[in-house]
């Protein structure tokens, strides 16, 4: 895993938490805003996934974290928000302001949009696919995203099979012009 300093880690955690928000891990958790109940992208492993070189974003993380703080500083100045805390500017923003800023960065036409889309994509995938883990391990470990979505458990051999899969009865009339091969005419 690539090494990120604390400030950059907090910044990227705060970004991932804006994509899929979650509850704070501990009382004075500054990265996670606590905007939604239950674990979010960070608890689901966003930092592990972003620091997996196979993603192709790992080498750019330091730059993205610094750029995000640059944008946060400019955003704060624009809105007359005074930043005082000893934490990075993006982390100091409220959840509403983080969201508003991230929305701007992800808007079609923003010159840096592609980088932010990648960051958003992998933050999301940490939560809804656990792409940094074997899916069977993720399920066994109670991965919070897959659990929240209700992703079912595999059979003992680690493969999924659904024996019950059909209502088993006709539920609509066929299109009158269907050909004998089952295609549209």
């Amino acid at each position: 895993m690539a090494h990120l300093n604390t400030a950059r880690t907090l910044t990227l955690e705060a970004f991932a938490d804006t994509i899929i928000p979650g509850e704070k891990r501990f009382d004075d958790d500054v990265a996670i805003a606590g905007a939604a109940p239950g674990p979010g992208a960070v608890a689901a492993g966003a930092m592990e996934l972003l620091q997996t070189p196979a993603t192709g974003v790992t080498a750019g993380l330091e730059h993205l974290a610094d750029a995000l703080n640059g944008h946060a500083q400019a955003y704060a100045t624009e809105l007359g928000i005074t930043l005082r805390q000893p934490v990075p500017p993006f982390v100091e923003l409220s959840f509403a302001d983080r969201t508003a800023l991230v929305q701007r960065l992800l808007t079609p036409g923003h010159p840096e949009k592609e980088g932010w889309v990648l960051l958003a994509l992998f933050s999301n995938m940490a939560y809804d696919s656990a792409a940094h883990m074997h899916t069977t391990d993720a399920i066994a470990a109670g991965h919070p995203g897959l659990l929240a979505m209700g992703f079912s458990k595999p059979d003992v051999d680690g493969l999924w099979r659904f024996r019950e899969h059909s209502y088993g009865r006709p539920l609509a009339r066929r299109h009158p012009d269907t050909t004998p091969s089952g295609s549209p005419a």
Binding site: P21, G56, A172
Partner: protein, 538 residues
Amino acid sequence: MIESTDVLVIGSGFGGAITAYHLAAGGANVVVLERGPWLAGADFEHDYLLGSSYTRVFDFVAGDGMSVLSGNCVGGGSVVYFAALPRAPRFVFERQGSIGRRMWPASISRETLDPWYDRVSESLQVEQQTWDDVSYAGGLWAAACDHAGRTANPVPVGIDRAKCTNCNWMMAGCRFDAKRSLLFNYLPAALSHGAQIRPLHEVQRISRTDTGYRVHYNLVDEEDYRIHHGGGEIDAAIVVLAAGAGATPVILQRSAEQLGPMPDAVGRYFSGNGERLNTAVVNEQRVREVLGLSRGDGLAYEANQIGKGPMVANWDRLDGSLPEYSRFSLEQLYFPPGLGTILAQAADATGPTWFGVDKKEMLARWKSWLIIFQMTEDDNEGVFGPPPPTGNAYRISQQMLGRGSLRYDPTPNTLRGWAEADAEVKDILERDGLAKVTPWTNDVVGAYTVHPLASCRIGDDPKTSALDDRHELRGHPGIFVTDGSAVPGALTVNPALTISALAERAIPGIVAAARERGVNVEYDGTLPVSSTKTGALS
């Protein structure tokens, strides 16, 4: 000395496999170069971990206004696809699209293509499903259509239904050998006739020799596709491009420097098959009350995860008497988490729709999602920019994700078709409080297609078609294109059977061209004997 062969095929999807089989069966020496790995059976994992079969066999190229998903392995799209195999409706062949005249060659209509559809349907073993095969999700879509006074059809499929476990891992390759991909028919038959298939060989460009063509490739690292290990060249009398509609035009663009100017239509007229997706979040109680559906275990639905891709389609709007751009099909399907969730938008969100608090709540109801896939008529508005240094994208991730040069700016016609399809889905699924429906956002990676078409198309008009009606590249005799890029435009249904029928139809012409160049090959029209019973290709 440079290696040489009679026929060099680029890509091993539908267009490549069908050509490779017939040319090899007819006696030609055939080499197939495929950029992706060669996987089969137990290699196909149920795993979202980066580096598993799911990311190895899949290709996602983000463009400007359009992202293209396709296969990246021996067997191409047939390995990752959902195997829904309908024929295109009659009116599709009469379309004019953006050019003010019939876009298909005069020699092709549904009647003239039907015999070729018959042949590929036999080879791919297309079957009709019964209502017992239809998944809960397909059943729900059917019942909702029926409730709204519409019809709904179980779609014909290339799946061995007895082997299918409804695991919905089709996009990672079928672990249970139930999907009748090209690994079970055309490709093993081609091998048995002596064709060679070389995985991890990515073709970059074509140049000319005194007697034919030279194909230049790089060797791709088996784990990190961003890394290449040198390359080589092969000479051939005939070159068949079948790299898929997202890749074939790029190889030709890169070859123009040495081959000479390309027809204007190379890399233009790209169609995403008018594709668009909607996600419905279903109200379980209303499904029970209004539609009377019950799984028998206390649940009405909650079955998004269960099934085999698309099961049931609504074809009421495949009506040739409607104006162009108002005709479409609506097909229930399953997309896995990640690719299938990121673009879904939360209904009635107060903040952002595709991320944030409301989206997280929507994800919590994932079991009650129903995805509807719309195939409309678009306007062939996609254009490829200058090619990247290698392949068809700057690869970002080790596998799967890259950035390509396709630009797609939907015209008012395309937008109208999407809007009409959205309205139809809403009318069916929001009736009586059954569900809340939203379209996928186009703001993140543009529109999204798994059906790239038409970027190097057949036609009668040299100005708007890159290929003649025999699939030969205009101005470059001996180069043929048999993949989805040859299809003139959106089909309003899933395209693989049409791509395959066109490839079958092109074979006699390719055989004749090979014979003219002194290749000892014949066309006898035999079809591959299915190897489903004898086991998979490996």
